[in-house]
Amino acid sequence: MFFLSRQTVRRHRSLYAGSFVALAVGVFLLGLAATATAATIAYDAPPGSSIPVSLPGYDGEPARTVDVPLSGEDASGLQVVLSMVGVISGFITIFVIASTFAFAVAARRREIGLLRLIGATPGQIRRMVLGEALVVAFAASATGTVLAQLATPLLLAKASYTELAPVKLEPASPWLPLAIAMGAGMVVAMLGARSAARRAGKVGAVDALREAALEPPRIGPVRIGFGVLFLAGGIVLLSLIRPSSGEAAAPLAMFTPMLLVIALTLLAPLVVPWIGRLWAIPLVAWTRVSGRLARSNVVAAPRRSASLAAPILGISAIAGSMVLSLSFVADAAAATIRDSVLAPIVVTAPAEESASPAAGSGRPDRELRERILQTPGVAAVDGSIPLRLIRTDSDSAELEDAEGIDLTVAPKARRMTAVEGDLSKLAGKTVAIGKEMAGFEQYEVGDEIPVTYTDRSTDRLKIVAILADAFGVNASLIIPEDLARAHAPNAQPAQWFVLPADGVSPDSVVAGLDQNLAGSGADAVPAAVWEAAQDEGVRQGNQLGLILLLGPAALYSAIAIVNTLLMGSLQRGHEFVTSRLLGATPAQIRRMVLWESTLVGVVALSLGTAITVTVGILIRHAMTDGLADVAVTVPWGPLLGIAGTCLVLAVGAALAPTAVILRHSHPSAAAAE
């Protein structure tokens, strides 16, 4: 059947152009992620920037030594982002390929019926469609990998010396990563084509004789079964977004929408007509005939409407959920910071100093501390010593942020509530840890944590207390000041939390501090201002992450939306010409197409919105547990932007080919046909 596949792909170029572009872009993104990941793996840290840590091993695993890079001088941040980009690209690629292939098969029902009529078995038809997929997949994957290879140096130049990879990255050997991307592209295409092939195999010989190509309205029990399965999986994941899920909530917010999108896409032929009918009520009321026609077209061809709606549903649900969730996470983080800072005044360290604490000399922090304390009205100041240390497990070593605190001041300036144990016992070789770390690592009060300091000495620290989490205010490991000072002699606080004396107004203290600290570079602000700045920092960080993660996915989905709608309209040339013969004016047909694509878009967006809102509410519930008065920041701009872009693309991609078809189809020409 392969010779036939080759011929039919050539014939149905316009049908397969979409699949080709979609897959080539997908493989391009995958290939780029793979080559860049290879570059990060190949990156050798300069000698001396990492510390060897020996791991004891357990359960038969041998003891070994790992190098832990210090001060983030590596590309692991970029690796994480790239792997997420890879996952999202892979997912959307399967999704788009499946729907474009399904479309290509539906559009060729008669031709497939004819093949069945002259003696092709269902198996041969399946193999033909898979063969077509192979032809397209090979060409597209090859194109994608070549483009990825060409673009790799560009990406690496852009990614070097950024927050994610503060080092210079050089391209590594491209063969393995590109082979992986190419293989992944082929596998993804074949997976996507499989369901289309199976459906093609079910086309009967008698379909060759049927003039009306109206599709069967029902979808198979297998599809419904898988749809329900994915829906159940999505609901299980939704139920996992609980207050106890902590940091896992963010990945859940990414993967749950994916499952729900798959579920809704599988069930779409059942769901879309209903929602379409609902949204069509105002449309039918407002328009004379075009709205009514649009409704019938959407409702009577549920499979086509479903595959048109799929990419819009996909990107709106995934991007919407991530944007909303991250905003809610930031809201919760802001509330945590607000609740955790007890001191009314914060003094931030001079910017250039805090950026490179090791470079400081002559202990300027002592001097600053004295200046703050000498300011009239200041009762006490909490300036902890930040340091990094390597926390060792039986089988892993993690670089952690720690701080050395003055036990007499810090618990008054910041909330350090012990959930278990007693913070007042923090002295000598002891440590207090956050509740979340205790939960993940199953630490209990009394356990000893092996650590390695950046001066390469090792210690075992006894846990004396488990504290309520206060991310952004307290470090995850809190140790006595003396211990911190001993292993980080040059470190200086990034900020001081200032407690005024009884009866002194914070405003006057801030004024006094401003005067006293003039010229030092340090800046005194009311706590609320500092908290707002921290929140702003979190949101900016989120924005960068969102652009990196969703940028490629959005580009990709845009291609998919345009692709499916373009194919959808091009297939309907005959129908449009017939309508023109029946006396429909070009304007009427354009309006019908306009309403139809809008209707499909709105249906998809309402499903996407449902997913977004569900995930958003659950994330919010999970993150705000134990917090009061959490602000609700809904990023209307990005959300409406996503919806608007989807609609504009959908309507534009449907109208443009319609206009072309109409220009080339005067009724006279149609009659002569």
């Binding site: 036939l4 039919t8 009529l117 002259i118 003696g119 010989a205 004789l209």
Partner: protein, 255 residues
């Protein structure tokens, strides 16, 4: 109307019929209710015969053809093709029987636009897994008068030429039975004559059986027997009728 219903005269003693329909009924069910397209048709098409099936719109002639060719399953009754019952055959077995024993020619030419004339004709052989012999394909093309057109694509041919390609494609597997549904419906009279002569030749020279649904008395006159259907039943038949006689019989039936 010359004869009514007695079927047995057309059975050749001792030789099994090429195609046997026994008590075929077909009922379509929909939300609007049940429609009886065929209400019990029994008929034997003997080997080497050319039979035209005529009847008013909705008389069930296309349904009869689809049931006989195994494209549609009759509600009750059996179809035997060369002694093989179609009932109970799997989709794959039915497909194989179809590609080995049956040839199809329809009003819409039903060629694959992406393939050349040669490839279209060779396709049924390829589907059976055989490698088509060049001379075999060219011989069939010569037979339908399309020698030298092998490398063209369907879009470059006239309607009559496309229909002859469809016949060549049906001929190449040497099927026992030809099914033709309005094969001349979209053609002018010259092209129609060529197509009908080709079908006639298939029965006269190769002993193949042709069942042709048509509404055109001129086309029906190429058959040695016209079978009239009305309301899903055989209403009668006419042997070796002229176009005028056939047209008269048809208008009787429609009255």
């Amino acid at each position: 109307m010359t004869t009514t219903a007695p079927i047995h005269p057309n059975v050749h003693v001792g030789e099994p019929p090429a195609l046997l329909l026994d008590g075929i009924t077909k009922t379509y069910r929909s939300k609007a209710g049940a429609v009886d397209a065929l209400r019990g048709v029994t008929y034997h098409f003997h080997r080497g015969s050319f039979t035209a099936v005529m009847g008013p719109s909705g008389s069930g002639k296309s349904t009869l053809l689809q049931c006989a060719a195994g494209l549609d399953k009759p509600t009750t009754g059996t179809v035997l093709l060369g002694g093989t019952g179609l009932h109970g055959l799997s989709e794959v077995a039915l497909t194989k029987l179809r590609r080995e024993q049956m040839g199809f020619v329809f009003q819409a030419y039903n060629l694959l636009p992406s393939l050349t004339v040669y490839d279209n004709v060779a396709l049924p052989l390829r589907l059976t897994g055989k490698r088509p012999r060049r001379d075999e394909v060219h011989q069939v093309l010569d037979q339908v008068g399309l020698g030298g057109m092998a490398r063209r694509r369907p879009a470059e041919l006239s309607g009559g030429q496309q229909q002859r390609v469809a016949i060549a494609r049906a001929l190449i597997t040497r099927p026992a039975v030809f099914f033709a549904d309005e094969p001349t419906g979209a053609l002018d009279s010259t092209a129609s004559r060529q197509i009908l002569s080709l079908l006639r030749e298939a029965t006269d020279r190769a002993g193949q059986t042709v069942v042709m649904v048509t509404h055109d008395p001129v086309a029906a006159a190429y058959a040695e027997r016209v079978l009239f259907l009305s309301d899903g039943l055989v209403a009668g038949s006419l042997d070796r009728g002229t176009p005028q006689q056939i047209a008269a019989a048809m208008s009787d039936l429609e009255r």
